[in-house]
Point group: C2
Chain length 529, copies 2
């Protein structure tokens, strides 16, 4: 589907090519362009001097897409140190996992969280600043550079918890990011045509400017305090940093609880104007999709990054050890390839489910965004889990545990996807396409799609608990059958609905005849849920 | 800016929420939805039975964005084995580069080329199939999985040129990809509402179907022949594979030459209907942008991937070697951090130039797409080049050569960006926004933006040739000043234009007075080019 801007330019192109022979004067085509392009026609409404000085005003669409791509890559990168930790074969998996869990996995999850918090702040900022120019584009790039550096400061903190260098670096980055954001806001308010239309129209722009700056400066000030305390009493500065990370979530849930406790109706204050978080506030659906696509894409290809680099055997080794038989040499890497295809298929299918779900979501709330983040954080761990399943000797306890960890990760990633749908269902009616609401005609089908991975993962987990000796074959069978299950899902859902109807109809008929009523049947999909 | 679908759903949401209390019947909201949504209103025009069976028809927008992300990551991945090749310090860089050049860099460039060819085929296919359903989405994922595996087969081929396994694997992948594409086409033509509107309206759909299938099967058949020859005479099968890779480019340039030679006017046959390449055929601008964004994003973060993994010192080492002084331990990694920030800034600014350019491009031709691919291939090499500049001792010949290689790569990446603009300028008038055409008011500014990096890189290169002893400081100075040059570029361009006018006006006045004419001045920007 074309973007709006795409449509406009096609439009403008058609008009231009028609007139290309007629109009010679530059002014005429320029006027014509302005007439067809909405962003430029907006510029027309400004005073000429304003327009003259800022002809480079641009839609921020692509800048945001690029930022989403960068942030999603950085969010998933910290899984690499976890994946590359070499586990000893003779060591028990549990012990080595203990060591992993304490530092690297914690770093991964913390990074994922802090990066998504930075991303949420970025979304919020560019909901206020809707148009950009070159200066803002360059400032945004500087901001991105600092955000991509945050994971490193986190791993320093995790490796050297006693040393304050990690805290200092992290706080310095956050303070500079805050200052850049403040410059963006000040610049935006001094060039009002860059702002959100709503703020642009309002009379008390100054009030909003100071309010937004106050909200932005909360975080750098907390970091400054954390720096001061890091010289005096380090643990307190960690507490302050945790508050920085969780601040939006804390304030959000406190507000929500207050509202529920006092029984107050939602007055839904204007979130953009007041620059604050609300659980039901719509998030840009497009940006959530772009961020998710980035995470799914980088996670799907994480293993091939390693394979291309490490799994091409050395020609000398092949000559000496395998007498030049390449196929034999490659058989050593067999498990890696299996892990690659397994994880690619799983990540791809989880993307497919996500895609189907968001196709029917018409409005993304902050709660749904949060659930999506959790789901993505588990998706990021998948390649690692798949690689573990093939690294240990058959029928060892390690292999069993690796398979069970994989199942748990798939289960959690799938369950959080399901939770997004449930949140949309229980939230507002407007958040879902009518087809997939209760009693919509694709309701049962969507439920089956979302429930397939959690159910299969749970089933595999339970089976491997009982049939420990066959855990690897069960897991591989699961990997192979799930894609086919997705292909045949529509048929399966129809068949099971028909079966359900067959089973239920005698009971219902009995109930009906007992009541003596002659009701029409309720729609099928209601029975299925 | 909202996408078209975004606008529609907002539209639909507003309508839904208005009517939410009134309409109770499901049919009513469903009808309402169909009225506001274009893709669904299209479904309305079909027979009810068609509609019933295919309610899951979807816009392919997000599927294509995800495919773009996957393909762009895979295209740039093969730079990693190049970057991780350890160069010996005492060895001359030239010698080790010889070895690198012969295999790894060749593999990188070949991968980039084959992946972009696969991407072009993917674009072409989904210009015919404009809507997707679940089945097509899953088939596309399978296709992506095989495409991501292609780089590995290439590195096998490069490492073991004598062994036919690489050829067999590559050909097997391509054949399966071709078969999946054929299935997609057959499925699309058996569900005509998935097709491009133009084909859908035409009477001889069967003719187009067979024509497209014939074009698709050309490549797998060539691969099949290559497999057969690989058992008889291996070099011939390499020639065949090269033909496979270059086939579209060869046929394109042959056609172009024929047309120029016979002096025939461009009859511009319908490229989508005939499923063939034409140099002036419009490429989807949105997909070119998405692919470029993906490459720029992964390249910008490639170095932080390594830094997060390798450059966190071991606590034991810090304790023993540096007496627990972390800052001293980190100073060892200083050059890596410098390389990261340098390459991030350069890649970010090249993205910024690309973004500015494509903001003013209204139509992307295939030639521009090809030039963009070349530019991106050099951008992919940047992190490696930057890392090299910091790996060698100061004032060594190696350092000088690494700096000169970096300059060349920046120069080439920038020059190909400039070439895109030139192609757009010399191509059709409709390919550019009036502002940046000849005598447009931003023409000189855009030229300065595009020319800045090539000029600076060339200047640095020449300077390092003369001032060999100061090559490193010159290079670092370049890194630091370029971002500021971009910030101040508009001012600089204005100043230099004013200067040019001042210098030229007495000359011109003299010419004018000599001729006795009283012409009006030509627009400024014409003088600048």
């Amino acid at each position: 589907m074309l973007t709006y801007s795409g449509l406009l330019s096609v439009d403008a192109m058609a008009e231009n090519s028609d007139e290309i022979n007629e109009c010679k004067a530059e002014e005429e085509t320029e006027k014509n362009w302005n007439r067809t392009s909405h962003t430029h026609s907006f510029l027309e409404s400004l005073t000429p001097s304003d327009r003259e000085g800022n002809s480079s005003t641009q839609s921020s669409h692509r800048l945001l897409a690029y930022s989403d791509a960068l942030i999603s890559i950085i969010a998933t990168v910290m899984i690499l140190p976890v994946a590359h930790t070499k586990l000893e074969d003779d060591e028990e998996l549990k012990e080595s996992l203990q060591q992993l869990l304490t530092t690297k996995i914690a770093v991964y999850l913390m990074t994922f969280l802090i990066v998504t918090v930075a991303w949420a702040a970025h979304i919020r900022l560019f909901q206020v600043i809707e148009r950009i120019d070159d200066f803002l584009a360059l400032l945004n790039l500087a901001c991105m550079m600092l955000i991509t550096f945050l994971p490193y400061t986190f791993s320093l903190m995790a490796t050297f918890p006693e040393n304050i260098l990690g805290i200092l670096l992290f706080c310095a980055c956050v303070i500079v990011i805050g200052m850049i954001q403040a410059v963006i806001v000040v610049y935006g308010f001094s060039h009002p045509f860059l702002l959100n239309d709503q703020i642009q129209m309002s009379d008390n722009q100054d009030f909003y400017k100071w309010h937004i700056l106050k909200v932005i400066f909360r975080v750098p000030i907390l970091c400054l305090i954390a720096i001061i305390f890091s010289f005096i009493f380090t643990p307190l500065s960690y507490v302050l940093l945790a508050i920085v990370v969780f601040l939006p979530y804390i304030s959000q849930s406190v507000k929500w609880c207050c509202r529920k406790a006092t029984g107050q109706q939602e007055d839904s204050p204007d979130a953009i104007l007041l620059y604050s978080y609300h659980p039901n506030e719509p998030l840009s659906k497009e940006r959530v999709e772009a961020f998710s696509d980035g995470v799914y894409a980088i996670v799907a290809t994480l293993l091939i990054l390693d394979i291309c680099e490490d799994n091409v055997p050395d020609p000398k080794v092949v000559q000496e050890k395998f007498n030049g038989r390449l196929v034999e040499a490659l058989q050593e890497f067999g498990p890696e390839f299996l892990a690659y295809f397994g994880s690619f298929a799983t990540v791809g299918l989880l993307w497919f489910v996500h895609h189907s779900l968001f196709l029917h979501v018409t409005k993304t709330t902050r709660l749904m965004g949060l659930l999506n983040t959790f789901s993505l954080a588990f998706v990021g761990g998948l390649p690692l889990a798949y690689q573990l399943t093939h690294e240990f000797p058959h029928n060892s306890r390690n292999e069993l545990e690796a398979i069970q960890i994989s199942c748990s990760i798939i289960f959690l990633a799938g369950v959080f996807q399901l939770a997004i749908w449930v949140a949309a269902l229980f939230g507002e009616r407007a958040a879902l396409h009518p087809y997939v609401r209760y009693s919509g005609r694709d309701h049962a089908f969507m439920f089956a799609k979302l429930a397939l991975y959690p159910c299969v993962a749970l089933g595999t987990f339970v089976l491997t608990c009982f049939l420990t000796r066959f855990s690897a074959p069960i897991f591989h069978l699961m990997e192979i059958t799930v894609p086919f299950a997705f292909l045949l899902l529509r048929l399966l859902v129809r068949a099971s609905l028909a079966l359900l109807r067959l089973l239920l109809s005698p009971i219902r008929r009995a109930v009906h005849s007992a009541r003596g009523e002659n009701e029409t049947y309720r729609p099928l999909s209601e029975e299925a849920t």
